[in-house]
Symmetry: C2
Subunit: 585 residues, 2 copies
């Protein structure tokens, strides 16, 4: 039994490794595979793109929107030199799903682990990809992700791996799902901060691998083809080409700003085998529900009629859609990849069939023997009531009536350097008023704003109960995909209505999936458990970009005293300027 | 004879004061007027505005675009706390025309005197306004000025002033002239950096005091009135109300991105009395030519028919216009201010009557007895050939075949902290090949890129000969308004064709005007003289924003060794991060 087997199957032993990470520098990690270093350069710039046929200024990495896929092997050290060429705009890139054990300063979150990187500067992220699986990267700064700054990370098993991927397949492919707005991040942020509140609306297009199709005729005849042209080859549909008879693994990541999707391939079943880097007790489905921040691997057998092509589609669920479905061509070789399927694209499931969505969430369980089960008990329960509120006339999202405001000094540095005035030192609330009516518009919608953090005992087990409620609109409760940085959590359960802690709630303590992102359904609850075993300070937030921007987030600190001082490159903003040596050298 | 008289009339004595500025801190300035402190807060944010009836995201200061006027009295210390609320974009504000004697770190130029200020941070500018006159402020970062970040600075004489303004008037009013694009700064910058080159084009509208009128019908019927509406009261024309019989001083500033203007008031003559803060040997004109970065004061007698209103207009000169003239209403009280004048607006002079433009430049001379004449000789002559070039397929603007690229570490800090690798240490060229044909497209359009600087002997007298030439387009030479930071210069002369240093050039050494911005005319030359008596490093650049962005600038260093170490707030970017104390405190 080699080290990789250990890493994969008995994650609790990792705690020892984590200690090693901290005690020794990264070069000294005791790994048994070849310690490869992947040295990448990401040049980030604005470029005009036609992702959905409409000309829009997008953020590109090395000229590409979405950015290039990072293909690494388990155990690799990944170094990404991010060169900011955004003229006047800063940048920070988060490596979503990578736990950053021993490297919390590389988590890429503005206000939390680093000062954003200024134009003209280069920031070097360095981290180890310690587990195989499908992850993603994206901007974690303001509303910047919306401009297209995202891509996929695939971590493969080493070739010499004793235990192969438990589900055989022939080819490994990628699908990035996203939604696309024609407004800029600045326009969106300005709208969201307006009084009266101005909602950003539904996206203009849905994209599969960065390609969609906007109906240019909606813009009127005065808008020329140089601005919007449905026949522009740059926005021809994405193509998934298959060889008849072969089995494909599709690594699917959702990088949406807002939308929840159902993904399906006309006439083909999918076998779900991986979720957020964890092996799934596989199950077959016609459609995959996927929420912003989630990744899945599905296996698809190319065993249908090989003389034709099929549609691959995404449609919006969990919000009433006003965006046309996204379409790609599932192309049986050797048919021409632009040959349209003879049948109309499947419409996908109806948007508000929450029961079907919850059912799939409940079906996603860990593959036994491959994932450690959770501890049977917890050290602490934090209940977070999700509400929409107002603060001084601005719309905000809140947890237990507190809407988070991110400080200008990164928490990690404030903690390490004892900058106690850099953020609110009070304790955020652990629960909400039990008499709160989750089915009604709040009687008093006022919330407070705070930058306070949850401090967790290192290595303790923590349960999070996400509790949904009614928004500021009658008979409305939204779906929120919650994402945790620096850790995976066990998904213990989902339920309808108010979470009842008195005993009638049944947790799955047997084979719960471990994930980093999970949906909270309308008027429902979601229960998570995780071990606070990664020293640092970590975001936990709704992955809908506008909700995050409006304060729907919390911070979990634990063991930050064990973390080394962050690099100089992480500083330069807010109170970190205090540490600039003010005497001439 | 009081100190103020000294400050105004015998600027050479200032050198002693400057030494005092350096030896003592600003609080110890030996001034004879009350040392008032003007403490201002500028909250900078994006806001939707309808300046020309078209909805555009603009940068506002305290909610206003253009920003508020700074009204100070000579001798005041002005403190401006700039709070950056631009979400993901940095900011730097330059106080144009304020020489920043003793406070070079408050000049507000990104890459030169400071790191731009990050979102969430506050930067405090502190400087003394040592001379009465009309100045301006604006963003000096990337293409940010274009988004509307600008305003006016008026410095009045103290009430107890022994010598009043030499031209009597009844009321003191302000006129900000600008041009307005519907593209964002990011779209413009991306276009300018494209291969093939994509020119930003002419502005959509011309604005008088932030108001213009775009022809919304050009957008087609699919664009609703919420986007463009010519009857929106927010874009009703600016109004200049006058009381019959009174004399008005109009302080006029041009903050255009690109355009040169002729300004006139229908049926009224203007008496030009101030230019860039210096008293003019007054002259009467029907129309005032004004270039980006210039300010003038004109006196207007409201002695025409008081029963009607008149037009105040701006029209583009020096480039073939494709933007409608800008219109305001010159309103005789008590007529309604929206009552349209009965006559059509005057079209203004034709755009390419360069002779008339040069004639006015030659007419602008200093008011004798109020401005020190220049030294008769110079210590150094730097000739700068202005050309359009290409570098690796990108269009650039160059001086003596060198296109400037600004470094990521501010020069002032690099100089003070001996960061010799932060910029090119070589000497930029002082002249160009005398065989160069200024009337033709360059045979070899390739230029080089450099961050090198001119080092001037402290207190030496320096002449600059700006030499114009043909662009990359046949039979084309453009007008460039050149602006010097930290100093005024004497305008010694203008001429047609190649500057001839052999003797037939006649300088005005008797009563040249002192200015900070001056035009260079097509195929012509402009000769300037200044004393390098302000310790620091200072930009000299074409005030057309896109030309500056494409490298049309130089840097003049002198006496920087006398400057104190810049504040911590100016650092945080580029190599200044090296000075962040990397040990835990």
């Amino acid at each position: 039994m080699g080290c990789l087997f250990l890493l994969q199957n008995i994650p609790r032993i990792l705690t020892m490794f984590q200690a090693a990470f901290l005690l020794f520098s990264l070069v000294n990690i005791p790994i048994c595979v070849e310690a490869r270093v992947l040295n990448l350069t990401f040049e980030v710039s604005y470029q005009f793109k036609y992702l959905d046929c409409y000309k829009k200024l997008s953020i590109a990495i090395n000229g590409m929107t979405p950015g290039p896929t990072i293909s690494a092997v388990q155990g690799d050290t990944v170094i990404v030199n991010v060169i900011n060429n955004l003229v006047m705009e800063n940048v920070a890139i988060h490596w979503h799903g990578i736990r950053q054990i021993g490297t919390p300063w590389s988590d890429g979150t503005d206000s939390v682990t680093q000062c954003a990187t200024m134009p003209g500067d280069t920031f070097t992220y360095k981290f180890v990809v310690d587990r195989p699986g499908t992850y993603m990267y994206h901007s974690h700064y303001g509303m910047q992700r919306e401009a297209g700054l995202y891509g996929l990370i695939r971590v493969s098993l080493p070739k010499e791996q004793s235990e192969p991927f438990p589900f055989p397949y022939d080819y490994d492919r990628e699908i990035i799902l996203s939604d696309w707005y024609h407004d800029t991040p600045y326009e969106q942020a300005t709208n969201l901060s307006s009084i009266p509140f101005q909602w950003i609306g539904e996206p203009q297009s849905l994209l599969i691998n960065g390609r969609g199709k906007y109906n240019c005729s909606l813009l009127g005849s005065s808008v020329g083809p140089e601005i919007c042209n449905a026949t522009n080859p740059l926005c021809s549909p994405a193509v998934l080409t298959v060889i008849p008879g072969k089995t494909y693994r599709y690594r699917i990541a959702s990088l949406t700003s807002l939308s929840s999707f159902s993904f399906q391939i006309e006439g083909h079943n999918m076998t779900v085998v991986e979720a957020d880097g964890t092996y799934v007790d596989s199950f077959i489905t016609q459609n995959l529900y996927i929420y912003s921040g989630e990744t899945y691997s599905v296996l698809v057998n190319a065993t249908q009629d090989p003389t034709r092509n099929y549609w691959a589609t995404i449609n919006v669920v969990a919000r009433k859609p006003s965006t046309p479905n996204g379409l790609a061509i599932f192309n049986y070789y050797p048919n021409h990849f632009h040959k349209l399927p003879p049948t109309p694209p499947p419409p996908g499931p109806i948007w508000n069939d929450t029961a079907s969505q919850v059912k799939q969430s409940l079906a996603i369980k860990a593959l036994r023997g491959h994932v450690e089960p959770p501890p049977n008990t917890t050290d602490r329960v934090i209940t977070l009531l999700n509400t929409q509120n107002t603060i001084n006339g601005n719309y905000r999202w809140s947890l237990n009536n507190v809407s988070h405001s991110l400080p200008s000094t990164p928490y990690l540095i404030a903690l390490k350097r004892n900058l106690t005035d850099a953020f609110d030192q009070s304790q955020p609330p652990e629960d909400y008023d039990p008499s709160y009516d989750i089915y009604s518009v709040p009687k008093n919608p006022n919330a407070t704003s705070s930058s306070s953090i949850y401090r967790l005992k290192f290595n303790s087990t923590v349960d999070i109960i996400l509790q949904n409620a009614n928004t500021l609109t009658e008979n409305s409760s939204e779906t929120h995909p919650w994402h945790l940085h620096g850790h995976d959590f066990w998904v213990l359960g989902f339920g309808d209505g108010k979470f009842n802690s008195t005993g009638d709630v049944k947790y799955n303590l047997d084979n719960p999936i471990m994930k980093n992102t999970v949906p909270l359904y309308p008027y429902g609850w979601t229960a998570l458990r995780f071990r606070a075993d990664n020293p640092g300070i970590w975001l936990f937030h709704c992955h809908i970009e506008s909700h995050f921007y409006l304060g729907m987030l919390a911070l979990f600190e634990s063991g930050s005293e064990m973390v080394a001082d962050p690099p100089q490159a992480n500083m330069g903003c807010g109170e970190t300027k205090r540490f600039i040596n003010s005497t001439l050298g």
